[in-house]
Structures are given as structure tokens and as C-alpha cells.
């Protein structure tokens, strides 16, 4: 902190509202893309793993190992292939969501009672119909729980993208710049907005979950209480 610097420089914030809004928007966009793509990939993997159960272990294992690679090394390795693009920024973020999303989708499918599935077969549902009309809706609460966790976690992780410069950095740019130039206000703005964003997205997804699964409201309430 600079000598004599106020704890929070309100004038700087007032002067940079559009910059802050821009970074916030960028942060949201990068996180949303990561979670959406991660969800699509995890869903595809989960559907595949339902048919080929041997896949489950390796997918979970690889997703875990990916967490141990430092982001700087990962970016440096990706650069020659994908350049300074959004793609380079998204690849690690998407990979980091897989662990959460894949596991929760699988657990969601596991949670469909065997007799329900059999009853659907007995009623003449085809495999795709059974998936879409019976199993998926039953798995939704756990899938949304996974999306909530992946979203909050990704919002924190987008910070690493500031390694790829100002074009892509999101709120992480404030944190790096604040550290570099001894300007605590920037660090606080970056960290506080990131938390506020996580709260907002989490509440949005809770609301969505209630809308999507009216039948499970009572059960969900119990599950939360049991957490």
C-alpha cells in the first residue's frame, strides 16, 4: 500500500465505473462459456460412460490430475497451438469444471432408482425417451448442484486468465495491476466483485433449480438442511 493511501480510493472507483463494468462483463462471459462448454462435455462423457462403465474411473482420474498442472505452464504449452485467444483461456477453465460436473451428472444418473428405469422400459419407452423424460429430470437436482459449484469455482479461477493479458483478463487484471502498482483499491475491487458475482450466480441457479424441479422442493429443502 502506498504511504498515506486511503483504505479504499472511492474517487478511483468513481472514475473507472465503465472499466469496472467492462471487466465484470468479461469475467461473467468467460466463466459462463467455461461452465456451459464444461457441462456439454461432461454430459457427453457421462452419457458415454453410462454405456461404457470402464470410462468412469479414467475420466475422474484424469480430471483430478489436470488440477496439478500450474496454469502458467499450461498456458505456455497451449500458446503455440491456440494462440492468445479466448480458446486458450477457456481450455484450462473447462478442464477444471469437468471434475465437478462429470461426477455430479454420474451421481445424478446413479440416483435414478432401478425400478423406475425398469418400469419405464416396461411401459415401452425407448432408450432415448427414457433418458430425456425420466432419467434426466430425476438427475436435474444433482446436476444443478454441480453447475452451482462449478460456477462459483470458475469465477474464482478466471483470475488465472490475467496471465493472458488485458484483453482476456476479467477481474484478475485489477488484482494483478493493483499488486504491481501498490494500489490496494484495485485488489479489493477485483476480489469483492468476484465474490459478489459468485453470490449472484449462485442465487440465480438456486432460483432456476426451483423452477426446473417444482416436485423436489420439499426434498431439496431437506437435503440442504442435511448438508
Amino acid at each position: 500500500m502506498r504511504p498515506g493511501e486511503p483504505l479504499l480510493d472511492v474517487a478511483w472507483i468513481a472514475d473507472h465505473l465503465d472499466d469496472i463494468a467492462f471487466r465484470l462483463g468479461q469475467h461473467v462471459l468467460i466463466a459462463v462459456i467455461a461452465v456451459a462448454v464444461g457441462l456439454a462435455i461432461s454430459m457427453a462423457l457421462a452419457l458415454w460412460a453410462r454405456r461404457a462403465p470402464w470410462l468412469r474411473g479414467p475420466v475422474t482420474g484424469i480430471a483430478g490430475v489436470l488440477y496439478t498442472i500450474p496454469s502458467l505452464a499450461l498456458f505456455a504449452a497451449l500458446l503455440p497451438f491456440t494462440g492468445l485467444t479466448l480458446l486458450t483461456a477457456e481450455i484450462p477453465l473447462v478442464l477444471y469444471t469437468l471434475l465437478i460436473l462429470f461426477r455430479n451428472i454420474m451421481a445424478g444418473f446413479d440416483g435414478v432408482p432401478a425400478d423406475v428405469a425398469e418400469a419405464a422400459d416396461g411401459m415401452g419407452y425407448r432408450s432415448a425417451e427414457r433418458l430425456l423424460q425420466i432419467e434426466l429430470p430425476l438427475a436435474v437436482p444433482l446436476i444443478i448442484a454441480g453447475v452451482r459449484l462449478a460456477s462459483v469455482s470458475t469465477i474464482g479461477l478466471v483470475m488465472i486468465v490475467s496471465l493472458l493479458g488485458k484483453n482476456l483478463g476479467g477481474l484478475g487484471v485489477f488484482i494483478t495491476e493493483g499488486i504491481q502498482t501498490f494500489f490496494a483499491t484495485k485488489v479489493y475491487v477485483g476480489a469483492a466483485l468476484s465474490v459478489a458475482l459468485a453470490i449472484a450466480i449462485d442465487l440465480l441457479l438456486v432460483w432456476l433449480e426451483r423452477r426446473a424441479t417444482p416436485w423436489s422442493r420439499a426434498r431439496a429443502a431437506r437435503a440442504v438442511a442435511a448438508d
Binding site: 472499466d19 502458467l72 503455440p80 493479458g165 484483453n167 494483478t176
Partner: protein, 305 residues
């Protein structure tokens, strides 16, 4: 204003997604990058503004985290141009090469870069530089009567040293300290902290280290009144700033355009004295002005815009 920024956000993401420049118009699009350090961003912004004035379309990729990102980006053509410190840029490829001789550093850097990414050209370097500075607090300087680096040897064990993690393998750091100044490496009390960063300056100011490697233009020196010890045996590398640009970009220009392009950048370099770099650093890092505004004000004042 806000909606314009959001549009810009959308547009930049689209550009990044498609990742292909459209070469419309007479002047090609140039992709300018910089290291994460604010000074590098500032100089890159100057290049960008003079080129925009001359009719080039500029795509900025500023504040790329570290040389581990910028070097592959330049070699791979994700950026065409960036400002480079001729000493550490050279040291990235060969730690044994950099010296106190700016001409030698620029020539050696040119030799290495000729073979990278299809050829990269080093243009004129600035008269000013931002080199490594070994600094102490005024109370330490007074207590041990320190003015030059040679004074350090006698009191080396009484001081806690803040040196960067790469010091041990860098001939200009551990090598210079040991061979030229007779200081043992590693020193008895050592904290490994990245040079020129905020934590090392905080650590020095608050007494966690007593002598630290900072950058000579770093505003923290003036802010906290640190004393820069004279490198009396000239061990530290010349760290002048030079534009480095991909040859395949230069090849897109007609020969008259190429001469004009090089002149634009060389004219910027010529204005960058050590005093200028230090003053502008204060504007950015102390007065918290935006890099683009500081660059524009300076270029306007110098008649380059």
C-alpha cells in the same frame, strides 16, 4: 460509453475467437503485445498510438503475464511487435550473454532472434534504460556508510538480501555479486523474491530485507526514499528498450512504408530517456493514471502524435 465498452468486449472476443486478421486497406493490421510489467505496457501503448496515427489498424494484447507467455506468442506470430528489454530479453534465451554494453546486447539479441519465429528484427534501442538496481533503506545506508555495491562485501552477513529466484543461475546476479564484488552466494540471510515487484519493495520498506534488487525506474525507490547503490564495477546488464518486430510483418510493407514504419518506432525509442521512464512510471504506478492516457499525453507533448 458503457455500451461502447460492451460492444468492444463483444467485438474483441469475436476477433479472438476467429483469430484471423483481415488485411483490408493499404496498411496491414499489426498485433502489438507487451509484458505484464506496467512500463512494458506503457511503451507498447506508445507504439500502438503512433502506428494508429499513421493509419495502421492495431490489435493490442497488452500485459501478457510473463516472458514464458510473450516469447512463444511473438515466435508463434500471435503478436507482431513488442517492446523488449535488450538485457533480460537476451538473458531469457542465454543467461550467459547479457553485458553492460548496450550495443553488444542488442547485437546478440538480434543474432538469436533472427533464428526465431521466421526471423524477428530488433529496431533502435532507447537511450534510457531500466536496469537492475541494488537498493537499501536510508537508515541502512547511513548505518553502514553504503554508497556503492563494493561497500556491501564487508557487511554482507549483517544484511538480509532480497534477491530474485533466478539469481543463482544468472551470471549477472549471483555471478556478478560473487566474482566482481566478493559477496558470497547464497548470502547468509536470503529471501527469494521476484525483482521489481511490489512484495520485494514492501519487504525492503518494512525491514524484512535490507538490500533488494529492484528496477532502476521503479517508482517505489522515490516513494520510499530508497538509496540506490552505485554499480561501481559496471556488472549490471544494459536494459535499454527496443521494439522487436516479426520479419513476416515487415515483409507485408512496401519499402517506403517499411522505412516510415521503422522511423516511427525509432523516434519513440529516441525520446525514452531514463528520466522519462521514471517520470512516466510515477504517473502510472503512483498517480494511478491509465497507461493509454499517460502514453498519449507524453507523445503529444513530444510532438509525436
Amino acid at each position: 460509453m458503457r455500451s461502447r465498452r460492451m460492444l468492444a468486449l463483444g467485438a474483441s472476443l469475436l476477433v479472438l475467437l476467429s483469430a484471423c486478421g483481415t488485411g483490408g486497406g493499404s496498411k496491414p493490421t499489426i498485433k502489438i503485445g507487451s509484458d505484464g510489467f506496467y512500463e512494458s505496457q506503457l511503451v507498447a501503448e506508445m507504439y500502438a498510438q503512433v502506428l494508429e496515427k499513421a493509419g495502421y489498424t492495431v490489435e493490442r494484447s497488452l500485459a501478457l503475464g510473463a516472458r514464458k507467455v510473450t516469447s512463444p506468442a511473438l515466435e508463434g506470430g500471435q503478436i507482431d511487435l513488442k517492446p523488449e528489454y535488450i538485457g533480460s530479453g537476451l538473458g531469457y534465451y542465454d543467461a550467459s550473454k547479457p553485458s553492460g554494453d548496450a550495443d553488444a546486447n542488442a547485437a546478440a539479441l538480434q543474432e538469436i532472434l533472427s533464428g526465431k519465429g521466421g526471423g524477428i528484427t530488433v529496431l533502435d534501442y532507447s537511450p534510457g534504460e531500466d536496469t537492475n538496481a541494488f537498493v537499501v533503506r536510508p537508515d541502512t545506508a547511513a548505518k553502514f556508510s553504503l554508497t556503492t555495491m563494493s561497500d556491501l562485501a564487508a557487511v554482507q552477513d549483517e544484511l538480509t538480501w532480497g534477491l530474485p529466484p533466478e539469481c543463482e543461475t544468472n551470471p549477472l546476479c549471483a555471478g556478478a555479486l560473487t566474482d566482481t564484488y566478493g559477496i558470497d552466494f547464497p548470502p547468509a540471510n536470503l529471501e527469494a523474491l521476484a525483482a521489481c515487484d511490489a512484495p520485494i519493495a514492501e519487504a525492503l520498506q518494512n525491514g524484512a530485507v535490507d538490500v533488494a534488487e529492484l528496477c532502476s525506474t521503479q517508482p517505489a525507490i522515490a516513494q520510499f526514499g530508497f538509496v540506490v547503490l552505485e554499480d561501481d564495477k559496471q556488472t549490471q546488464p544494459a536494459e535499454n528498450l527496443a521494439p522487436i518486430v516479426r520479419n513476416d510483418f515487415l515483409a507485408k510493407l512496401s519499402s517506403s512504408d517499411k522505412t516510415a514504419f521503422e522511423k516511427l518506432l525509432n523516434d519513440v525509442s529516441a525520446k525514452l530517456t531514463t528520466e522519462v521512464l521514471t517520470e512516466l512510471g510515477v504517473e502510472v504506478a503512483v498517480n494511478q493514471k491509465d497507461v493509454a492516457d499517460v502514453a498519449r499525453d507524453f507523445l503529444t507533448e513530444q510532438g509525436l502524435l
